[in-house]
């Protein structure tokens, strides 16, 4: 039992070996924090009245989350039923006439909350990977060359603080103009979200990588010179390992930004995802809407937290300096 608890606690950054007393303390303190929050939330919610009714408290949110799950399951059942009907129909057709041309149509029900979570996750990861693929090599090159760094630093500093919402109209127009294909591999909305996310989350990784690379100790550089390592070997064997901690700091900042940016972009651009879910519920304006939005808020927070933990686990895996406590 306690070993399961420990496994759950590990990603929270708690030490591995805990006595029972420590375990209780490690569990009780955060739990009591959550309880206090729920209590304040509950009291506050009862005293906020909106045109859509009372502000959702913890119990409404719980109710709505069950509802959202149930809706998702109903939608899945519908989909399964649809495919069964289609298969039966096609089988009959073939039985009558083996040469008949049969059509298989995809199910076109509306995406559920769970579907939207999936879409958002795929988009954020794709955007983050695209940004990292550009930012890490670019950061290494810029960090290794003082002239390049001085040349590009003003540009980086200029674009770093730009909000995603400012990029979005431009990206949308450019994608509609440039991404033209009869059989697109990805939806336009996906490409727009991906590029917006990439543009915003590029900068922390780029800057941190450049700084990490440029602060390699002179001694290690001398070792590399004495060994006459080629540029590539130098980068692979010396530069990247020694910049890994800074690169990961950048990546974690980037992923956090990517997730925040994505929700805003989806809301504004009506691209599928959690942001659209929130906006749709807001426009819907039923008495349940606020509760459902609140579920989305909590889920967005939880996913952001999980994404950061995943990065932390990765960072611990690749970090060579085990004496540094990563958090």
């Amino acid at each position: 039992m306690s070993s399961i608890a420990l496994k759950l606690l590990k990603p929270l950054g708690l030490p591995e070996k805990l006595s029972i007393a420590q375990l209780i303390k490690a569990l009780l303190v955060p739990l009591s924090g959550i309880l206090v929050f729920l209590f304040i939330w509950n009291i506050a919610a009862q005293n906020i009245h909106t045109s859509l009714g009372e502000f959702p408290g913890p119990s409404q949110v719980y109710e709505q989350s069950i509802n959202l799950l149930a809706e998702h399951n109903r939608e899945r059942q519908k989909e399964v039923a649809f495919h069964q009907r289609q298969d039966v129909r096609n089988a009959k057709k073939l039985a009558k006439n083996p040469d008949a041309v049969i059509k298989t149509r995809p199910y076109t029900g509306k995406p559920t909350f769970i579907d939207q979570i999936g879409t958002s996750l795929v988009t954020v990861l794709a955007g983050f990977f695209a940004a990292s693929l550009i930012a890490i090599p670019a950061g290494i090159v810029i960090g290794l060359n003082k002239t390049l760094y001085s040349a590009f630093n003003p540009v980086i500093q200029l674009f770093k603080p730009v909000s995603p919402l400012a990029w979005l109209p431009l990206v949308t127009m450019v994608v509609s103009a440039m991404y033209v294909s009869d059989d697109p591999m990805f939806a336009k909305s996906f490409v727009t979200s991906l590029i917006t996310v990439s543009l915003c989350c590029l900068w922390p990784t780029l800057l941190n990588t450049a700084v990490g690379v440029s602060t390699i100790s002179a001694d290690l550089n001398n070792v590399s010179k004495v060994l006459r390592l080629s540029w590539l070997t130098h980068v692979i064997k010396i530069v990247i390992p020694s910049a890994i901690p800074m690169i990961f700091t950048g990546l974690r900042l980037s992923l956090g930004i990517a997730w925040m940016v994505l929700i805003a972009a989806e809301m504004l651009a009506q691209n599928p995802g959690l942001g659209k879910f929130v906006w749709d519920e807001f426009q819907n304006g039923s008495s349940n809407s606020l509760g459902r939005i609140m579920v989305a808020v909590l889920v967005i927070g939880l996913i952001g937290f999980m994404l950061d933990r995943v990065m932390l686990v990765l960072q611990k895996k690749v970090s060579w300096d085990k004496s540094v406590e990563l958090r």
Binding site: D219, L220, V226, D321
Partner: protein, 308 residues
Amino acid sequence: MTAKKHLELTGVDIDFPTPNGPFKALSNVNLKIDRGEFVSLIGHSGCGKSTVLNIVAGLYQATQGGVLLDGREVNEPGPERAVVFQNHSLLPWLTAYENVELAVKQVFKHTKSKAEMKEWIEYNLHLVHMDHAMHKRPDEISGGMKQRVGIARALAMEPTVMLMDEPFGALDALTRAHLQDSLMEIQADLNNTVIMITHDVDEAVLLSDRIVMMTNGPAASVGEILEVNLERPRHRLELADDPQYNHYRAAVLSFLYEKQRTPGEPTAKPISQQTPAASVAADAADTEATTTAVKTAKKPISADEQAA
């Protein structure tokens, strides 16, 4: 002796650019070193010992004059002039074995097979007595062990000249004595040409064939060169009472503390009136080198020597 020397520094000057114009760190450094010779560079802090070493390594370029190694000019770093750095400079993300491997792969990639390389890496780690911890990373081993690996890495490059920049400076006295002994053993085996920078008068006399004493900077140069004609193998305990050994040590001490007083001190006049120990003690706060000298002046056989 042949006419052509193995390693030759001729008229080496170096200027470092500063906002207030060039700073002349070395002026007219001349030095000739034979194959298999062990030469120490000794001098006060900031006198340019490391600069000389870095020029030989090819990490700095002389402004005037130059370095010839076996008749070829040195103008860039290379593994035939392996460097043992003061603070070991091992890659912290690689194990001892992998650190040596990086060097071996680079130097012998076309001449040794995989199995030969493995054997060669292990042989060099064995030379420095690191067999037992060869798969540990630098943060898992002690300072002395790290320096051993640093030496193994340099040896594994099969250098023509091994350059050691205060290799034992950061170590405690006991560990330093052990490493000095190891180095003498290896030197007896391989008979490398070695240039070593040191602050430690005892270390210089114990290890070297010649001690090159440098004048104070700026525009430092070679002051005196002392030949150390002590028979090898040398044992620190026996040497402690050896008049010849003490004579060499006194010669180095007198160069450092009478002829080359650290800058910013009163004139050398009072020294001749004081007892040597007292004058040295007066300098104690000034440099690391002085601290070492005080130790040696007061008790010829220090704790590390007894232990060794």
